[in-house]
Structure formats: structure tokens, C-alpha cells
Symmetry: D2
Subunit: 381 residues, 4 copies
């Protein structure tokens, strides 16, 4: 039996200056299941070609816009198998809908869309299409996040009582969006970001992790949004309490003005008999503390881990994996689902891979945080 | 010139089974400035004598109750110089007032009293007496807490934007107060603890640290109290947002049902250009992160620290000091103030030593948290 | 100008059950400069095809042995640009020589050969051929290893006085080579490993790091080899003192019977005014301690790092990179050198990429360790 | 029954400028078993009185020299119960012998004497006297050192295969002994220190820990001494291999020119099935790694620890203890032994408290290290 060919992907966004385009390329190709063959990398045709060249893409397939890419690729015998969306948020919906309507599956960067209403629209579009739609909530691809999720699901900690998630960065401590910083520019612009600043950019990651690992849903939220840097149009700092579907409580904090923090994603889960702690900057260890008995450190790739955690390890314990590998796990799972779907599977996405449902909840999160912060009260989720 | 004699102290509480009595004894005597010579260690005369013997106290000075101790000691030529209060909370006020009225200075365990109203009463009593009154907010005695405080005061981080304090324990994860656990018993009993459970026992420490280090005051609070363990009468878990006097925001969390945590006191301060992080379980290091430039670790006793931090170190850098030494710093400062007061100084307490003002604010904190949690809204502080 | 095509590589070894084959594939392809198109993955033709299929290699190019691969590929218009050697040690020399004699550059796993004599033979073969030859001393690809190297080269620590390197694993704590463990089997077999056990497998890494980072050369060695597990034919534990070319001293330790250790590569360099510490299991941080002033932590990808360190980062600070990314840095540099060589450059390998010189020194290290351990004395290097 | 009175101690050394005098005072008094009542703190009568005053010692008992102290105190009804030796090394023997000959027990700072011959002389003096003699190898008093020792003794790791101990400081990186630095001055002077520099000052601690924790004895040693700082008369850096009584091997390293290190005492023990790691700068945690199963962190004062470890904890888990508390454990044990001896016990010292045997072995260590380093070979221990 022949090894199935690599899945061909076409990227929208990710042009020169973008951080996330090359990340998607590396992550998608890392496990040898996908290859980048086409793209509408920039709204400038020239810059799109330039980016294409940097990726080794055939110049003929470096398009000036996503419409052209979709229209052309769908007619090629060797056309793309799926679209990767790596644009600012305001383009997530139109690109995704265009691809889905053309019958092309989608792997999208987060958040799913720019607004909650758009998310509902996208959800309906995905449902109608029956096509695979994946969402790159990167942290969901880390082995030890998978281990934490498995431990919660297996009840290892007893009933969950308390969850604390935070994502702190410091890079927006000054108004760098006014000084030509491309990454900061669109994130600080409501036209391109949507109504959420830090909460959209990184709060949605924290929110996703909270629900993803605990297996619980947020049912109510009490949030305080702040815009710390004068003149900034969107929030750059958020603290929130949440109530969870099992009666537990949680805190969620994110900030882009936490001077000195890099990408401090940190998560703790407290159950009746033990607790978990994970930090992205030390990703290959999961700290497990018990009410009785010694604290433990579980190491990625170790034989004592859950099947879900072991499944995503590429190297033996003690050799660190990182951000790109976590990202690649999502692509590997998406590619597997896509293959299965091509073979006729319905709803092929594994539960470990974030999809449109996670996307809608993430946009709901932004919406609810803003509502709560404005009213200074608890709001239902 | 002769070395001044040691100050004589009489302890109330701290009898058999108490954790904190021996801690006060060691801390008070550690720097050679004080000695325990009398006590009303227990409400049972027999147990008081037993405790006295374990401390090497003259049996004649192991009293059956604090009233007797105060009445007798004030008439002795070698009577006590101050009273140490190490009882459950409900006795803090009556003991302190009795001592002050007898003209005897007081060093009290925290919280200052059982209720906010009592705190106001105590404050008035302290003011009227003109006597030194110290409060053992232990963590204020750590060298690196002093360093953090100095750095904030000196503006090293720029304006403070964000503060996060937490104190997590797990030892009340089960209803141990119903199984004869003496420490848990009185803490879970509103008659002896006052209206605050975890917030009174450890939340007040977190609150004190927040204001002590940042130099800011809490002006409003939005808190959620929970009683996680069924049947418990007081809160065992709290999350709160706070607004600070300079417009900054903060979070404060405490829990005694965070299974697996021991005494996890952790504090972070974010300013415009850098941030600080300190953990009690790694107390001799202060982590300093800059918006620009490498992260730093400042070590206790190092020559590059502030004068305030260097002043409290007893051993060279790299030899760890701990909880008892921090506690002893407060006694050393109290003893120094007492000596100065005996020599005629007015208001001799150094600003580094918590006193009645901190005590009143701590009780106000408990009061405001409860009010906010009940109303599910922000309340003014 | 068209983007240069990807370099085509043919792998020898790396068949089913091998850990290192997939690692080479991922690492080589990660930066989009190379692609695996051919291989002699196993000495069994069937297993070679099986492995080829798992890599997506055209079945026609999954060869039964390396001779056939080289002979066939050199005649194809789209033949391989270089050979990757991922076999047990005893094949490193014959494969490399065969490739070089056929005019094909080589990227080889370490150690360079099975014996020191072979290394000299290979060195002469490489020299004669004038072809690029790279050696995958993985740890040399970590950003913070590059930073440490740059700091030493720039004299940031003053003259180096002391170096301590160790590589500890525990996986050979039991005689797993007798129980069908493929990885252990060939490593424990002198016919395939050469005369070095742990010193060949991991000691050479430690040795390479020592010279690579410090910029110094070992001039004498005093080593103690042990075979801790009964019945094992090769060493599984080594401790050594070394003298360095500037008069400094060092220690080098490696073990595969350090029960509980995973891949604990740890390196410390002490200079007159400061020191460095790096651990593979926390690879994105370099600890810098000064004789005067606070300890520092330098983070991968940070703007304050040396150009060499920044050059190899793919993601922003705070997003961890790991083992595969470090490995990929070597391939990226090798690919760049190969391109330059095709364009006529002589000696195109950058000094950051280990080559035949490092290979010969590594084999000399094994030879000298054995000689010293046998004589129980210092030996010249 | 009356509480036994405190034991009265007289200190030799520890005068103004000494670091270790106040440490002995605090440690001895911390558990309420001893009190400092006399001393010959300095060879200058004036400075001795000054130091006495700082300790609150009766001026009449601040002696001009140790002979006078011993002669006078032995005749007082309330004379000292034991002598504390806190002088430079060359005085350890004469002071100890004088005390023992006067029938007064001794608690001595380490190393036991200045030379190995002196140690044998002291051993004979101790034996002849039948008096308790304790040696303050501080690190032996840490709870987690006790835990490590208990785990080794109980065979928790299987047979021990490998031990690595190191003690690194940086404070002698420059010739500070030439600039009036009192602590450095006598340590760098063979007349006062004996033939060992770093090996005497801190190497003996590392050596003691190695044997104390592992329960094994060093049987042979291969050491390299260096004097890194030009003009210094004694060693300031040492690396050594050792063979142990059960056939295991070890490494021992100490340095006072490891720029940037503070008091980095680090110990690792590898057995057949697991390993231990302890660092003084993180003293309340013992890291336990298993060949199979998760890594563990054992916390001081936790209920799952051995009886020996629990016995020395003063505060609940999560409240750190440090260097002074470890030191105080030795005094507490010495005081207990002294009480028992007064009540007629023979050989009352518990095995957990270092005594003359440890002292002789420590001096033998210095002797053997120098012999090995000179001959550049293994020497029998």
C-alpha cells in the first residue's frame, strides 16, 4: 500500500513581517503530512510573491488575494486540500466562508472570527458545509496539556473545585502600536481585531485551556477590563472570576502590559485530593501535588503518562519539545481527520482538536467579558 | 556602657498543641533582645503550667488566665515588659485592652481582632494608651519582602499598574475541624475566629503584603467568597479584584482548600518598566523582570540590595533564612521600638513594622470582602 | 530570482525502531531547505521500503543498502544532494567514505566513526574530497548554547577558570540490552559501537559542548570509566578531569546508569568575574551569575542576546523551542553551506557547525579516556 | 517535675567581625536548651568584652583568653556546662584539649583541627576524657539531609552506585585576603587554617555530607587541587573522584573561585532504582527521581517523611526553615546528649550528630586530597 500523499495547503495571510505565517508552515509540515503549495500571503501582490518565494511556493500559486486563490486552486487537479487562515481577525470569517463555500476545508488561526455574531455565522457555515474546520489553539497541542486533560477526565484529582488560568505578556507595556510595530498595529485596531484586545489575542487561549483541560464549561463570568496604556482603543489587561458547570469556581487573567513577562501561560487545577500546575515556559513538566503524599513532576514522553499524552510525543523523555511541536500536533490531527473525511468519515475531528464549537465559545467569552466589565457585575455565560 | 537587659515578655495563649506559641518564643528570643518569662498559656491552669515548663518559665509565672498575669506582673519589680498575644482571634481585643490599660505594651498575632468594630475599639485603646502595639504579619519580616517594598518605594518599576497576591493552602480540603484537629477547630468556629475564615486566617496576610510592598492602598474591592467544604461555617476560599489608590488594579486570592498547596504565598507587582515576583517557599530570592534586558534574581543578604533588606539579614548570601527569622525580624524591631519608647521616644515603631493601622485595615478588609461577596458587586474600601 | 529548490537528501539507517531517523527527517525539513527523497533505511530491503513509505519516499528510492543508493542516486538528474548517516557507529566510516568518493557531501550523526583510527581515515577522506561534511552534535544548535559560546568568545566572564559539563541518563540502569531493546542493543555491542559505551554515546556530546562553548581545547585528561551493570561489555559511567588550553581546569561526567535522570545535559562555565549555567531540560534560559551584582536569566530570542543566538530563534521570547529545533539549526546551516559550496565557496561550513575537526577530537576523546582510565593517570590529549 | 535548666555555654572566638560567633549563639539558644554566659571572644581583652556585651554576657565573664575562661568557669557554681569553639582552625586543638582536660565537654566548629596529626591527638584526648564532643557540620542538621540519609539507610534507592557532592562559592575569586577582609585573611593563611584552603573550609563539609548521607565510606581518592588566584598560599579549588566502601564511585568538588556562586552545596545520590538531589539554597525540598514512575519532591515537615526528618522540623510544611535552624538542630542534639551524660549515659551522642569520628575523617580527607594531588594519582584513604 502506498503512503498517502501529503495534503496540500494554501495559506491566507502570513506575509512578510508576520510572525505566525512561518509558524503555520513549520507546524503543518513538521510531521510530514502537509505541504504548503499556494498562498495569498499579502494584500500586495508583490509582497505575496515575495512571501511565496520565501516559502518555496511556485510563483504561479502566490496569489494577490484569497478569492483568486480559492477560485484557481479549486480547478487545479493538484489544487489545495485545505486553506490555512493566518490573517488578522477581521478576515477570518470571510476567508473561511469563501473556502467552505468552495468546498475546501479550513484550518484557522484563533480567535475564530472578529465578533460573536460572526462566530455564529461561521458556525452555521461550517455546519452547512459538512467540512472539517480546525482552530489552532496552540497550547492544546502540548503533551502535558493533554496529560492534564486526561487526568481531569479520569477523575484523578477528585471533583474539581478551583481553576486558575493566566496568560501574561509585557510587550504592549508601551504604545508600540503607534510606532510602526506591525504585530501591535492590527491587534490594537478594533477594525481588524474586533472588540477584544488582550482578551481576544490571548484571553481566548486562556479561556480555551480552562475548558479544554478541566472538561468543564464556564456558566457565568465577572470580569474587569482595563486599558492601561493611554490612547489605546482596546483592553490590554483583564481579570475575571468564572463559575463552572460543576459548581466550581475559577479565575482567568490576561495582560499584555505585565512588564517583563514573555508568554507566561500558567494553569492550575485544584480538585478534592490533588492539583495540577502547568506553565508554557516549562512545557515538558506537569506538576502534580497531592493532598497526601509527595509532590510529583510528570515528564513529557514518559511511559507512565496517559495514552493521549504519549501519543503526541516525538522524542524520548528529557529531550524538550516546544511551541512549534505543540502547534504541529494540531496540524497532524487535522491532517488525519482530513484523510478520514476524504475516505468518507463524518465528523472526523478528534475531541482533542479544537474546532468550531471551541471557536464559538471563545467569541462568546469575549462578548461576555465585555458585557460583565461594562456592567461591573456577574453575567451569565 | 552596659548592654541593655533583655526585654521580658509574657505570653497569652500558645499552650500545648498550639503551633504558634513556640514560634513566638523562638522568634522573640532569636536576636537576643527578649526572653519569655511569664505566660497565661492556656485556660486550664494545669496546661498553662505544663506549657510554661516546656518553655522553661518559672512555675510561679505560669498563670491561669491573662487577667491574673497582668495584675501580678505589673507589680513585680522584674515584671514583664510586654504582652505577646497568641490566642485565637476572639481574645485578641480583650487581652490587648487589658494589657494596654495596665500600661503594658502589646505584640499581637494577627488579625488584630475578631471583627472590624473591635478593631476600631482597639485602635482607640492603643491611641489613648500611647503604648507600642505591634502586629506579627510574619511575611513583612522577610528580607526580600523588604527589598520588594524598597524597590517599589524607590520607583524602580515605574508607576505600579497591577498587583497579584495569593496565599494558597490545602490543609482544610477535608472537614478536619470535625475530627479533633485543634488548629482547624477554632479557625472554623465563628465564635473564636470572627466572621472571616480563610480571609481572616491567611487573606489578611495577603492583603497586608499587597499594601505593604506596593505602598498603595486598596480603595475598592470585588470579592467572591466560597465555602467549598460542606458543613463548614466560614469561607475557605476567596478571590477578589481590588482597585488601588494610584489607579492600578490588583487581584487577591486565598484558599485553604487548594489541595496540595502548603503555604504558597506568592506576590507579583507589575510596573511600567518591570515587575517583581516573590514566593514564601523560595524566600531568599526576589525575581525581577524588566521590560527591557535580562530577568534578574536578587539574593538575600547580597551587597547590591537596599539598606532595608540588608538590615535584616543575619547570614551571608547563599545561606537560607526562613519563616522563623522573618518572624524574629518583627520582634527585633518591636524590641528596638520598646527600648526607644522607654527612653522617651514617641511613636517609636518603624514604618517597616506592622502596627495598629495595619491591624485596622486588615479587619476592614475582612468586612469589605464579606460585604462585596454578599452583594456580588464592587464595594468601596 | 527564484527561491533555490530544496536540497535532496538520502538517509542511511533510521529504519523501523530507530529513534534518530525520524528526528533527522524532521530536523532537516523543518526550515524548508531540505527534503528526504531516498534512503537505505535498513539492511533488510523490506524494512527499508517500509521505512521509506513511512517517510513518504518513493518506493523506487528506498534502497536495500547504501552502496546501491549511492550508485543509483549519483546517476539520477534529480539525485540526492547529500547523504545523511543515521546508522550505528560502525557504519559511519564506510558510508561516509563511499559517499565522499562518489562526490556526495555528508551529514553524519555522531560520533564521527567507531574508533579514533577510523576518524583519522575519515578526516583524510573529507580533506581529499573537498566536500562539505557536517556532524550532528545536536546541542550545538540550541540558541542558548550559542549565547554561552558568544559570551565566552567576547570575554564577558573574564578569563575562564573552570568548566563543568555533565550528561546523565538512567535508561541503562538495568541490562536492557539483553531484553530485545533495539536502541540499547547496538550501543552495548563493541562491534557496532566501537570501544566507547556511554562515553561514545553521550560523553562525546559533553566533550563537544565543553570545547564548543568555552572556545578552549582539552590538553590532558584523567578519567575513570566504570561498567556498573554486570555483564555489560562497555562503560556505562565516566568521570573525568581535564586541563584546558588556557590553563583552566574542568570536569566532565557522563552516565547511563544515573537512575531517574532523563537527558540531563548540564554545563557550567566559571570565569574571573562571572559564570554561566545551561541545562538541556530548560533550554531556553541561560543563567548568568556575576561576582558582583544580581544573577541574570537570559531568555532565548530576546533582543539583548548576541547576534549568533538571535540568528537561530524561530519564535518570539517566551515560546519555547526544543530538541528538534536545535537539531534543525544544524541542518539549516549545513544546507546554507551546501548551497554556497555549489556556488563555488571553499570551506563553506560556518564555525558554528560541527564538522570533521570536531569529529576527530571527539574520537580522540574516547581514545584518551580509555587510555587514562586503564592507566589510572593523567594522559596528554 | 521541673524543666531542666538551660545549659550554660562559654564561647572561644566569635569576636567582633566574625561571622560564625553570632551564628553559634543563635543556633545554640534557638531551641531554648542552651544559653551563652561566658566567652573568650577575642585575643584582645577589650574586644572580648565588647563582643560579650553584644551578646549580653556579664562583663566579668568576658575573658581575655580561653585558659582564663576555663580556669575561672570550672570553679564557679554556675560555671559553664560546655565550651563552644568558634576560632580559626589552628586553635581548635589547644582549646578543645584544654577544655577536655578541665572536664568540660566541647562543641567545636569544623574542621576538627588544623592537621590530621592534630586530629588523631584530639581523638585520643576525647576518648580519654569520656566527655561529649560535637562538631558543627551544619548541613547535617537540615531536615531534608536527614531524609536523604534515612532513605539511603532504608535502601529506598537500591544499592548506591554513584554519589556527586559539590560546594561552590565565588567569594575568593579575587585576592580579598590581601585587602583586610578578616574572614578571608585567616582562611588564606596556612598558619591559622592548616594545609587545606577550600578543601578545609568547605571541602570537609562536602566530604562529611557524602559519607553522612550515603552511609558509605570513602576508601580511595584521586584529587586535583588548584590555586587559581595568583599569590594565594592555599588551594582555592578542588575536584576529586572517590571510591566508596560498597564499590560505588563518587565525585566531590569544591571551589571558592566559582564566581557568582554563593553557598551552592549540592548533593546527588544514584542508586539502582532511583536517585536523590538536594541543594542548600533550596533546603526544604528533596528531589527524588525514580527509574520508573514520576519524579517526586519531598517537602520538609511533611507527614510522609521518615521519623528522623520529621523530628527536626519546627514549623509546618511550606514554612521554610534555613541555615540557622539546621545549625540549631545540632545544638539541640548536643544539649540532649549532654543532659543524658550528666545523668550517667555513656556515649550519649546520637548517630545523627557529627562527633570526633567525623572530625578525624574530615582531617584525613584533607590529608589524602593533598597527597593525591601532589602525586597526581589515586591514594588509599
Amino acid at each position: 500500500m502506498a503512503e498517502p500523499r501529503k495534503l496540500r495547503m494554501g495559506m491566507v495571510g502570513g506575509g512578510p513581517g508576520a510572525f505566525i505565517g512561518p509558524v503555520h508552515r513549520i507546524a503543518a509540515e513538521l510531521d510530514g503530512k502537509c505541504e504548503l503549495v499556494a498562498g495569498a500571503f499579502s494584500q500586495s501582490p508583490e509582497r505575496s510573491r515575495e512571501a511565496g518565494a520565501s516559502f518555496g511556493v511556485d510563483p504561479a500559486r502566490a496569489y494577490a488575494n484569497y478569492g483568486e486563490m480559492i477560485a484557481t486552486e479549486r480547478t487545479r487537479a493538484d489544487g489545495i486540500d485545505f486553506v490555512v487562515i493566518a490573517t488578522p481577525n477581521h478576515l477570518h470569517l470571510p476567508v473561511a466562508v469563501a473556502a467552505l463555500e468552495a468546498g475546501i476545508p479550513v484550518m484557522s488561526d484563533k480567535p475564530a472570527t472578529a465578533t460573536y455574531d460572526e462566530a455564529l455565522e461561521l458556525e452555521s457555515s461550517v455546519r452547512k458545509s459538512g467540512l472539517p474546520y480546525g482552530l489552532t489553539h496552540t497550547y492544546a497541542g502540548y503533551a502535558m496539556v493533554r496529560e492534564a486533560r486526561s487526568m481531569c477526565a479520569a477523575g484523578k484529582l477528585g471533583a474539581i473545585r478551583k481553576v486558575a488560568v493566566e496568560y501574561f505578556q509585557g510587550w504592549l507595556s508601551r504604545p508600540v502600536e503607534t510606532t510602526g510595530h506591525k504585530q501591535a498595529e492590527w491587534r490594537a485596531d478594533p477594525e481588524r481585531s474586533g472588540p477584544g484586545g488582550a482578551i481576544g489575542d490571548i484571553g481566548t487561549h486562556a479561556f480555551h485551556l480552562l475548558e479544554y483541560i478541566s472538561g468543564l464549561q464556564v456558566t457565568a463570568i465577572n470580569a474587569t477590563l482595563r486599558t492601561v496604556v493611554a490612547g489605546r482603543k482596546l483592553d490590554d489587561d483583564c481579570s475575571a472570576f468564572v463559575r463552572l458547570s460543576n459548581g466550581a469556581a475559577g479565575t482567568l487573567a490576561c495582560s499584555q502590559v505585565a512588564a517583563g513577562e514573555l508568554n507566561e501561560v500558567r494553569l492550575r487545577i485544584y480538585g478534592e485530593t490533588g492539583s495540577l500546575e502547568w506553565r508554557q515556559q516549562d512545557p515538558n513538566r506537569l506538576i502534580v501535588k497531592w493532598l497526601e503524599g509527595p509532590e510529583e513532576i510528570h515528564h513529557a514522553a514518559a511511559p507512565y503518562l496517559s495514552a493521549d499524552a504519549r501519543a503526541v510525543a516525538r522524542v524520548p523523555p528529557g529531550h524538550p519539545e516546544g511551541y512549534l511541536e505543540a502547534f504541529a500536533v494540531l496540524y497532524r490531527e487535522f491532517a488525519g481527520a482530513l484523510m478520514a473525511w476524504k475516505d468518507g468519515a463524518v465528523n472526523p475531528l478528534p475531541s482533542t482538536l479544537p474546532g468550531i464549537e471551541a471557536g464559538v465559545r471563545g467569541m462568546r467569552f469575549i462578548d461576555r467579558v465585555i458585557a460583565s466589565s461594562r456592567s461591573e457585575r456577574w453575567v451569565e455565560f
